[in-house]
């Protein structure tokens, strides 16, 4: 594996896609992109393209899944057949079921589940194009969709990964680094509360490397958090801007 991965970072410390070790991929976030959902968000994280839609809280269907003392959060992570090079069967795979659970558990701490018993919030995550780190991008988008739906939240959840490639700790792995690299550490984080809601590790790291990877991922989260805040505010600022324009027109009249 080592002779293969030695190509992932060049002598100057530049990665395959031209980034430095602690650099994020370019991000684009948009809130309120779907009109039929209560809340929605779209994220472009490098080559990842992901849509998230949130519904609820609403009555649970089927009814027996409702809990008498709290709200139920349901997540469905799904990859479109065209999201990867080789056609992916649209049926939920083992990996997708697992990621749905992982994403749900990383979002649950952000919600006030006890406020609305017997109801459910549904989050649908559709990966349109995948390029490594989709679980992180999905969490970031899903948190925005839930906030956009008007569901009370403790904080937005942001996620970002770090890992080890060519004996270097790097931030935000893309597909190739993820596959050929030595380790991948996705972290989901609530920045205002300084609380980690997801921490996974795939690969082998020394305790020291692990600590550095987690720190790096959390720093990445904080950077994405700023963009997340910006995206959410932009949607509601648009309302304000149009009003100001209208006012100007009124003056002209």
């Amino acid at each position: 594996m080592n002779d293969k991965s030695s190509k992932l970072i060049d002598k100057k410390g530049i990665r395959l896609d031209g980034r430095k070790a602690d650099e994020l991929r370019p991000l684009k976030l948009q809130v309120g992109v779907l009109s039929n959902a209560d809340g929605s968000a779209y994220i472009e994280h490098g080559k990842n393209k992901i849509l998230a839609a949130a519904f609820g809280p609403r009555e649970m269907h089927p009814k027996h899944l409702a809990l008498a003392d709290r709200m139920v959060l349901r997540c469905r992570y799904h990859m479109a057949p065209f999201s990867v090079q080789e056609r992916k069967s649209p049926a939920p795979s083992r990996r997708e079921v697992e990621l749905s659970k992982v994403i749900r558990e990383s979002l649950e701490p952000a919600l006030f589940l006890e406020l609305y018993p017997r109801t459910g919030v549904d989050v649908f995550i559709e990966v349109l194009q995948a390029d490594g780190g989709t679980r992180c991008a999905s969490i970031t988008a899903a948190a925005l969709a839930i906030a956009d739906a008007g569901v009370p939240m403790r904080d937005l959840v942001v996620a970002c990964a770090a890992g080890k490639v060519d004996n270097t700790i790097v931030l935000d792995l893309h597909d190739e680094e993820d596959k050929l690299g030595d380790a991948d550490v996705p972290v989901a984080y609530m920045p205002s509360l300084d609380a980690v809601t997801l921490l996974q590790m795939d690969g082998i790291l020394t305790p020291d490397e692990f600590q550095r990877a987690v720190d790096m991922a959390m720093n990445g989260c904080k950077k994405i958090y700023e963009m997340q805040k910006e995206a959410l505010k932009t949607k509601y600022m648009v309302v304000k801007d149009t009003e100001e324009k209208e006012e100007d027109e009124e003056v002209e009249e």
Partner: protein, 233 residues
């Protein structure tokens, strides 16, 4: 004991609003003596209480609220009513018929069928029980005419205005009867369709610009202008 916001600032969930000697108001929560926002909205502090008007929220039933709902299902001894909240409301047959209800004599769908709109009052609701409705008071019951308009439920107080000033002005200027469902559904009934349309545009404008200053003046002006336009031809 500082606050971390300007008056009417736009905040998002998780934003730190105040620390120390403040009380958490609506749409806020406390964690380790710090007050954070729960929703997207505009904050304000009123006498040490940090309040927030949510820009996006859903209706949570409250006993005594007047709501407008759609009959979703006709059941064995009542109706299930969709009141645009996380919980469906129940309307019992005996409440509508004002006499003992006998399943063998009464056909429920003849009284109210799926899709009918009703104005109702919430008589009971708590965490473990779905809201119960009543239509046994004056002004409540099936809606037969008029137009329906949906707004974000948190904006209803703005449509009402201070001590009802806004809504009574709209009613007066447009000659419309307006019933505000606290769940964000508004019924407008006027003599002509034009009157109704005017009332609806005005209410939509209030919803959109609910958080700007000088709104009442602009609405007054808008109503006056349009009234002239309607009467001219």
């Amino acid at each position: 004991m500082p606050t971390y916001f300007e008056k009417k600032q736009l905040v998002i969930p998780g934003e730190l609003l105040a620390e120390g000697d403040y009380l958490p108001g609506e749409n806020t929560y406390v964690d380790e003596n710090k007050i954070y926002a729960q929703r997207i909205g505009l904050v304000d502090v009123d006498n040490k209480k940090v309040n927030m008007v949510a820009l996006r929220a859903f209706y949570v039933p409250k006993v005594g609220d007047i709501v407008i709902g759609t009959v979703a299902e006709v059941g064995f001894n009542g109706w299930t009513v969709n009141i645009k909240s996380p919980y469906n409301a129940m309307l019992r047959a005996s409440d509508v018929l004002s006499r003992p209800f006998k399943p063998q004599n009464d056909e429920l769908s003849a009284v109210l069928s799926a899709g009918d709109l009703i104005v109702a009052k919430i008589v009971s609701y708590d965490r473990s029980h779905d809201p119960q409705l009543t239509v046994g008071e004056p002004g409540l019951g099936k809606i037969t005419r008029g137009q329906i308009l949906n707004v974000v439920p948190t904006k209803i107080p703005r449509v009402i205005g201070r001590k009802g000033s806004m809504i009574s002005m709209i009613k007066q200027e447009t000659n419309c009867q307006i019933i505000l469902g606290l769940n964000g559904v508004i019924l407008v009934t006027g003599k002509t369709v034009e009157d109704e349309e005017l009332a609806i545009t005005v209410i939509k404008k209030i919803e959109q610009e609910s958080h700007t200053s000088g709104l009442t003046d602009r609405i007054t002006q808008m109503l006056k202008e349009n009234k002239v336009n309607v009467e001219e031809p």
